[in-house]
């Protein structure tokens, strides 16, 4: 038990590690058979029984009803909390006028561009750190120090250096994605079970075979975790960068609505931000199930 927690904590010990689903790590590092069985039983039941699903509804519906009632009876000024109808209407309008799509598209392009850079850099760095003790000796301390400063700490510096254009966003987003990907790749490679390496040695694997048949398959789960964290972080960073320095994109929609005291715009944009975050994460989870499906059969 104490053993499996070493890995998640190491994986998240950098201060900018703000992928909120921290429990994700444990799933792949679970050591105890009981826990594994529990996870598996969860995995076999992707959908809880119907009455469980229904139980989740009363609370949000009650909140919504209270909200509608409060707006209807004008208990709260619409500048502070617009009515749910107004939010829904704004949402529909911005959807139909294409404004929402245009902003969403801009945000998505940014996040994927930054994430792609971070992914390539993070994997390269993580593999180098994991495989070469020399690289580790030289680079790891600097990388650790670099990772100690959260994304937002770099923001003013980068604003001075590259201005507030696309470059700023791409660099910050890629930094946000790079750190968890590099860290998890590195730890994943380091934590490949010794016995697997020994089997590889017994089979007289060449170095290449060892890497492709043993090390990478065994490290895939933590690496994938890192990638999921990376994307979550990239999305979070995108939102904050757009809030701070942008004239288009979802974050800008939020700021703009806030400045004009149009909270309906803000709430609609926030809902889209949440939905996109959800879809991105679930998309990666779905790929993970396919990618790591072979692991489950082994247990």
């Amino acid at each position: 038990m104490s053993r499996d927690l070493i890995i998640p904590l190491d994986g998240v010990s950098a201060p900018h590690d703000f992928g909120l689903d921290t429990h994700r790590d444990e799933r792949t590092t679970d050591a105890s058979p009981a826990r594994r069985a529990w996870r598996l039983s969860l995995a076999e039941q992707p959908w809880p029984p119907l009455h469980d699903l229904l139980l989740g509804w009363p609370l949000p519906l009650a909140v919504l009803a209270l909200w509608a009632l409060a707006a209807h009876c004008e208990w709260i000024a619409p500048q502070v909390l617009p009515s749910p109808e107004a939010v829904a209407l704004t949402f529909k309008e911005s959807l139909l006028s294409g404004e929402l799509w245009a902003n969403l598209q801009i945000s998505l392009v940014r996040v994927f561009a930054g994430f792609a850079v971070g992914l390539v850099g993070g994997l390269a760095l993580g593999v180098a750190l994991g495989l070469s003790p020399t690289a580790r000796d030289y680079v790891y301390p600097l990388f650790k120090a670099f990772a100690q400063v959260p994304v937002l700490g770099w923001l003013p510096l980068l604003m001075l250096l590259v201005g507030i254009d696309e470059a700023l966003k791409i660099i910050l987003i890629s930094k946000a994605a790079l750190v968890p990907i590099a860290l998890n790749t590195y730890k994943g490679i380091q934590n490949v079970p010794t016995r697997l390496i020994e089997v590889g040695r017994v089979l007289r694997f060449t170095r290449w075979q060892m890497l492709t048949r043993v090390v990478f398959p065994a490290a895939l789960a933590p690496i994938w975790n890192g990638i999921r964290y990376g994307l979550t972080h990239a999305w979070l960073t995108l939102v904050v960068v757009e809030l701070l320095a942008s004239s288009e994109g979802l974050g800008f929609m939020i700021v703009y609505g806030r400045q004009l005291f149009q909270l309906d715009v803000v709430l609609a944009a926030v809902a889209v931000v949440g939905a996109v975050g959800y879809v991105l994460d679930k998309g990666l989870a779905a790929i993970e199930t396919r990618l790591l499906g072979w692991r489950k059969e082994a247990f």
Binding site: S2, L20, P48, L55, L59, V63, P141, A145, G274
Partner: protein, 259 residues
Amino acid sequence: MRADIVPRPLRGFVIPALLVALWWAAVRFGWSTSPLLVAPGKVWQTGVDQVASGKVFAALGASLWRDLAGFAIGASAGLLFGALLGASRLAERFIGPSFHTLKQISLFAWIPLLSVWFGLGDAAKVAFLSLAAFFPVVLNTFEGIRSVPPDLLEVARVLRFTPAQRWRKVILPSAAPAIFAGIHLGLIYAWLATLGAEYLLVSGQGIGNLMIDGREHFWMDMVLFGVFVVGLVGFTLNWIASRIEARALAWRGRSVAQF
């Protein structure tokens, strides 16, 4: 072998030293005329001035006070909420879906809303920071309690523990590592959110305001010093959290089994 040129413990310093040397050379030989290229010495001087005049401590104090206040509120609310979700299946089914939906909203998207509801002052910042600490603490507490081995609970039943005993002697000790992991994360998030709150809700004092000021006036030395301080604080918070965690969990011992 070439790799043995530098002794191992010193290798970590090689690249930073080279970078500083390059930086120094760039200033010394005037490779760039940009006003942004400030000498390493100037950054050092700014740091010394800031520390001597106490300005940095005032800013840091304001930031840290908010950070810890928000963290304390968020973490304690998170512990209670996580324990509730973990201990009661009904609560999980009833509140869980709403919680997991809210969790999806990117943290900083809350700021504009909070600023309307709480203003631009400390109230909004502390509310935001507590939100930042809340989510990871809830998730980890919930996971930790759900992962308490059923056999331990069976033993507790055999021993006829009262509910209070069950929590104190079985559930909390067993969930402690996960709970501490959540608190640790909450602390890290709260620090990140402190910076974000100071950038976005520009009012008052704080280390983030110091850096934003530096950027607006093109004081590169100030910004670099700020980056250093932010990193140092993050590192210190992290270190303290790890120490407390290690101390609190020392009784568990380390597993000797390798894989």
